[in-house]
Symmetry: C2
Subunit: 253 residues, 2 copies
């Protein structure tokens, strides 16, 4: 089951039109600042009604590709499409490595966040983490669903960095794997000890952050990410042997 939301096929006319114009812009056919054809012209070109063209342009405006001024026309934005980041067009959802690639991105930011959280956390941040941790511990002992607490724990760490941009991004990337956390917390996951294992990794992260030990926090997060990837069947061999500092290989013996 693919983790990434599949992009719907353009069965709607307005979507085909918007995708076509988007391609024009991305391919540089229409440079930033350039005025694109009038709605009447476009409707004639595509052989559709003006309403369809308007809906297509509405999409493009929402995605930051164009901006229009009444009476003047529609113009290509200065940084078309660069005001938002969508994983759907960053990777081919059908590709077998797509999930691994996105998980690697998550790995990068989560390990960094853990390290930052260790040095910047407030006591209040720690309360948030402990609260989520307790809920997870309870879920482990009661063999119930702990996905929400799991999510909250990671968000609490991101929040402790004091960087709202980082928080938002971790939230974003984490949500891509929301469904993938289920195999850890369902009945089979409990039986196989996956929930318990995840919990132990979380505890180590918490302890390192509480102790303001950035190095240990990073390493604990790294281990957690690698194990989490393994639990949901992602081949970590491909990104695991990334160059790493000696301490990362030997820490926490």
């Amino acid at each position: 089951m693919p983790v990434i939301a599949r992009v719907a096929r353009p069965s709607q006319l307005s979507e085909t039109v918007s995708k076509t114009i988007e391609k024009w812009i991305l391919d540089g056919v229409m440079a930033p600042g350039v005025k694109l054809p009038t709605e009447k012209t476009l409707s004639a070109e595509f052989g559709v009604s003006r309403a369809v063209v308007r809906e297509a342009i509405s999409r493009l405006k929402a995605e930051g590709y164009v901006a229009s001024r009444q009476g003047a026309g529609a113009f290509v934005e200065a940084r078309p499409g660069q005001n938002s980041f969508r994983l759907a067009d960053a990777v081919d959802p059908a590709g077998p490595a797509a999930t691994a690639h996105i998980f690697e991105l998550r790995y990068i930011v989560e390990t960094a966040a853990a390290a930052l959280a260790a040095s910047r956390r407030s006591d209040q941040d720690l309360v948030q983490m402990r609260e989520a941790l307790l809920r997870m511990r309870y879920a482990v002992s009661e063999r119930t669903d702990g996905t929400q607490a799991d999510d909250d724990f990671h968000v609490a760490i991101a929040a402790a960095t004091g960087n709202p941009a980082l928080l938002r991004f971790i939230r974003f990337v984490g949500h891509q794997f929301f469904a993938s956390r289920v195999p850890t917390w369902n009945a089979e996951g409990h039986a196989a000890g996956r929930a318990e294992a995840a919990q132990a990794e979380h505890e180590r992260m918490f302890e390192a952050i509480a102790a303001r030990d950035g190095v240990a926090a990073r390493e604990a997060a790294r281990i957690h990410m690698v194990e989490a990837a393994r639990r949901i069947g992602i081949d970590t061999d491909h990104w695991e042997p990334a160059p790493r500092a000696p301490w990362e290989e030997e820490a926490l013996p």
Copy 2:
């Protein structure tokens, strides 16, 4: 006369409607999977025509909030708004620390990318980097604009990681600072030696990646990011003292 209060600036009716519905979804008034009112109902509620409602829904579809099926209706997506990441609503652009926060995010991914590139680069990737590097060297000696080559160099490193998601994200974050690279490459930047300094940092990154030395590549990238932040006036003291491995402090003496 529109029923809704014109609270914000949206001069366009369709934008007002889409923002209102977006707020409904974000506030949990409409849970995922719920069918939202029919276009006819909405047009009556808002006191606008059905065309306006359709354009508003078109925006919401583009942003991943809703999906519609002909004959059935429009439904709130499972993870509304979580399929795209916008820095605009991640940080308050007016906040003085916003730039620093986003740069820190860039710092995190670029240093990781440099390390990954060192272990995964192909010879072809190296050619791309060297080409951009030569163009920058030329720009330094001729005191011309090297922003494009600068951008290309970083993109080439990201591409060498073999991770399209990471590439796309680095491209996205990097573009946020496109304007900020100018002070390095304009006349004053050349005179102050900023262009030359940046070039030296780039060269070190390249050499480390060419030598497949991930540790050195990460350190070179870290230095470059810190210096780049300093050049555009970002206070690095806040995120510089992040916990770091010993090797990162001592490498490249």
